[in-house]
Amino acid sequence: MNISYQWLSALLGADPGVDKVARLLTDAGLEIEKVREVGANLASVLVAVVESTRPHPTSKNPLTLVTVGLGSQGSLEIVCGAKNVPAPGGRVLFAPVGTTVFTGDPKSPSFVLVEKPVAGIVSKGMLCSEIELDLGSDDSGIIVLDEEIPAGTKLVDVLPGAHDWILEVNVTPNRPDALGHLGVARDVAALLAIPFNGVRAKCVPSRPAREDERVRVESKTAACDRFDAAVLVDATVRRSPLWLRSRLHRLGLRAINNVVDASNYVMLELGQPNHTYDLDVIAERTVIARNAVDGEVLQTLDEKTRTLSAADIVIADAKKPVGLAGVMGGEGSGITDNTKRLLLEAAHFDPSTVRRMAKRHEIHSDASHRFERGVDPTCPPLAIARLKELLVELTGATVVDADVTARGPSELAPSPEVAVRDARVKAVLGIAVSRDEERRILAALGFSLVDEAPERVVVRVPTWRPDVTREIDVIEEIGRVFGLDRVPLAVVPSSGARAGAVRDFSQRRRVRDALVALGLDEAVNYAFDADALFESVGVRATARIANPLSSDRAAMRPTLVAGLLKNASLAVRHGEHKVRLFEVGTVFSARASDDPHANERDATAANEGPLHEETRVAFVLVGPRDSYLGDAGSVDVLDGKGVVEALVESLSRSEVRADREGEAPPWAHRAAFARLSVGDRVLGYVSELHPSMRGAFRLPASTVIAELSLEALTAIRPALRAIRPSKLPSMRRDVALLVARSHPVATVAALLREGAGERCTSVALFDRYVGKELPEGAHSVAFSMEFSPLGDKTLTDAEVDGWVKAAVARVVQDLQAVQR
């Protein structure tokens, strides 16, 4: 909502200063997002009278040389490109050299006028259009004033509020009263503690109405509880005077004609939307608020044809709808240049009904914006009176005694009475507010005192505050005017209460920290993406957004892998050949209907949501291993497995087991994947990316991915027990074996360990060799075996050699291995 400081100031009868007003309003909940100074350039602009004109002697462009009189400042000849230069005697606006003028072009919005020749002739200024003076949006020609103003008069002396500040107010949905200057002025007055009398309409003379000037109004719907109408005759529809056009322009509305402009002006003043009709096109001079008939058609002012339903409320004449109630008027009943007789309408509509209509028809109008928030239901008579006053002045019309008011089928509930306890005010605000101050604040905001007792007051809420219905709402009003910044600081006495709604916050954090420590970078992808993205890794999304930003952002991610591959792909495209990315995040799937958490009540009680949500841990490795000035090769599935092993070691000091069981994910490479487990819990899979999926991401063969369950990763937390390290040295023996590759290395190692007996504390592969000189299908594997002493008994070479021999014998026997 744009608020004119000058208008506000006029309503208040005070000039407290724009900065102060902006600060006070912001503190009190009407946040001023921006203050825009306008009209600072108008100080030098003068009213000029055209004395004579002649065509430019040389220019091929249609330029006119205009001699204008500036009163005591004499006459000047000005080059003018406009086509609407008036005949001698006409009044125009003259901006002398030095004035800032506007271009209407956002790229270079303004410049300062300098004396420079136009087509060979030097002017000492220019005759300006509305755009050039930023007084309107009309660029069809220069401003020609209708008013009789002496030549040489300063514009600012005849244009009230020419130099103004526009306050851009962020009006929250609970403050419909602040959608007009009146409501904002009331707040300012309360905050400044100055008297404020609101807006009053001057009584305008009227004459008795003839029979054909009488109108009939009726409300047949509960959604319209009040409908006021009035009639004016002998109106002249024309352009509004400059003060009105410029004011609307500055507040963001387009000036149309004096009737529509007056209607908008009243809306901006009171916050009451209203409408004017050409009485002569209203069938039978009858206006009815009613439900639309299913299938009824209305062309609205935005030139769209709308098919209505019974849920819509229309304003109709005796034959057809003429407007969508509270939302938008209809084409054909509006004001034209030929309109003579005006029907004024100001009504009150049910907020929810208007909101649903506006949503259904996808219209967001100034009227619907206000009605859906709740307009003061007692405002229509004042709006009608102000409209009459303005229209008589602007159109020269005459008011006839044809005012009518229709009431809806149900009476509007009176505004509530609310008891406010002193103790509660203090308990909520944390500071006591004196009864005197409380009464002053409430009175200034329009609350009337109904009853008063030592410990409480009872007040009636003003009709323009539909959001205030309870004690707590009144306390907020007291607080925001009293000054929330006066609330002191207090320390919460810690209750030591533990959270009840607990999920996996600390587990996510531990895994993130661990993966960062292992040298991976963390990604955060959107939880939704294109179906096609997930399909490109062979996974189908089962949960989706009904109203996505675009159809390629509708699928809730069923896997983290796709997003990470997309990220890796981006990095590779940017020329990065080494990628190490992980993500810890939620994946989503639709619940089966027999899922115990499929209904809202049970799921909420279990701190679950409507979708099945699971936290996963995923990473992608691409490109060469970390190395230095040499080729360490590219990553493969064992690099991925290593990350998981290190992760599990750092989380729980546990061993990871790999096998090729279970159902491998579609992105797994069948020759290079592993199912990883700890104990009897499956963590997930690690694999080189399936070759057929590399193309879509333009990733190299050295792309390794893993996706694991956070729950499984963090579920195992064995109790760790410290060992007392032996003071005696352990001993190491290396063993090389030639063995068939069909025997997993883990089996070989396990047999060695088994065969070596209980003093053997570790068997670690340290070398593996495959070569042509080896027997077909065999490889050479070398293990380092460690033996640790027990107690204070030193190991001897002889006993260790014996154990190693036994171990080797075991492998030789079981796997037909050959020691090398």
Partner: protein
């Protein structure tokens, strides 16, 4: 005796040219090894007369000592030479890069999220969480959003496909305030939690991301007032931005708090003195949190007596704090997962 003198004269010149350990041992053996010249002489000792034995023995010992001393000196010389050789090797070009383990980067959003959480935890808050998908009952109704109210427009909502299931509509939560409901339903007061998490709004432009991170705070107990809210957020702002930071509290509107406030912190960069400040844009203030006293209807919707208990709630945008801390030029970068962006922080 003469032979002994000859050996003695030989000692120094024998050890002088020794160049390495092996030569040293050989030279030493030339005198004192099994076949060594001194050993040879000593082997003849028993043949001597007892009177001669003493003098001769003394002489042999003298020569032996000389040999040992020369050997030792040569050894020291060798050690020093070796040390000098090692130290005088071609120096390593230390301008070459170090062989370093790769250092991972935690996402900036999570760094800020955890820092913020830690501050509140240190103040006595526990961490609560709820699901990212939810029902409109928990996201709106129980939080006191009136049906068909423009307040719903404050949060453009992603609804989920319900697949024709009956019951309230399902959605992606628009705020972490859903956790207020879930926490309040989980146990009776006192409640003192922060709830960090991901939220979603149907909004995508230069300043909005359709997914972003929030942290919610909720305290419900007897005797909690707006002063406790202010004290809590002021302490938080000082711990996050610096101890000289002051706060201001101003009116606002959220359907689930009453009164509603915005809490601003004084600009930690310019203190309000720079009209072109990159952080506060000259206003001198930074919006820290939307907050307020828990609306009584929220408490009663969760079966808590609002006459007995009062509480406050607040919500902070983690993305904005991350953008401030790391001077992130646009919000979409936070979700770009561009390695160049991630590794710049």
């Amino acid at each position: 005796m003469e032979a002994l003198d000859a050996i003695e004269r030989e000692v120094d010149s024998a050890f002088a040219p020794v160049r390495d350990e092996q030569e040293l041992r050989a030279t030493h053996a030339k005198f004192l090894g099994k076949e060594g010249s001194l050993t040879e002489i000593m082997r003849r000792m028993p043949e001597l007369a007892p009177a001669e034995k003493k003098t001769f023995g003394q002489a042999v010992n003298r020569v032996k000592t000389a040999v040992e001393a020369a050997s030792e000196a040569a050894e020291v010389r060798l050690r020093q030479a070796a040390l000098a050789r090692e130290l005088d090797r071609e120096p390593t070009d230390v301008t070459m890069p170090g062989r370093r383990p790769r250092v991972g980067r935690q996402h900036p959003l999570h760094r800020v999220l955890y820092d913020v959480t830690d501050i509140f935890v240190s103040m006595g808050f526990d961490v609560a969480e709820g699901p990212e998908s939810d029902w409109e009952t928990n996201n709106f109704e129980r939080l006191g959003f009136p049906p068909d109210h423009p307040a719903l427009d404050m949060q453009d909502t992603f609804f989920l496909h319900n697949e024709g299931r009956p019951g309230p509509r399902t959605l992606l939560r628009t705020h972490t305030s859903t956790v207020q409901i879930r926490e309040l339903l989980s146990h009776p007061p006192p409640v003192m939690i922060v709830a960090p998490g991901t939220v979603f709004r149907c909004d995508d432009d230069a300043t909005h991301s359709p997914m972003f991170a929030q942290i919610e705070g909720l305290v419900v107990d007897e005797g909690i007032s707006l002063a406790h809210l202010r004290g809590t957020l002021a302490t938080f702002a000082q711990r996050l931005f610096g101890k000289d930071v002051t706060t201001r509290m101003r009116g606002s509107y959220f359907p689930f708090t009453e009164p509603s406030v915005e809490l601003d912190a004084s600009c930690s960069v310019c203190g309000g003195r720079d009209p072109h400040c990159r952080l506060c844009k000259g206003s001198g203030w930074l919006e820290v949190a939307g907050a307020g006293m828990v609306d009584p209807i929220v408490l009663s919707n969760c079966g808590i007596d609002p006459e007995k208990y009062t509480g406050f709630a607040f919500g902070l945008g983690i993305d904005r704090l991350a953008m401030i801390r790391y001077q992130v030029p646009s919000i979409e970068l936070l979700y770009s997962n561009d390695e160049r962006f991630l590794r710049s922080l």
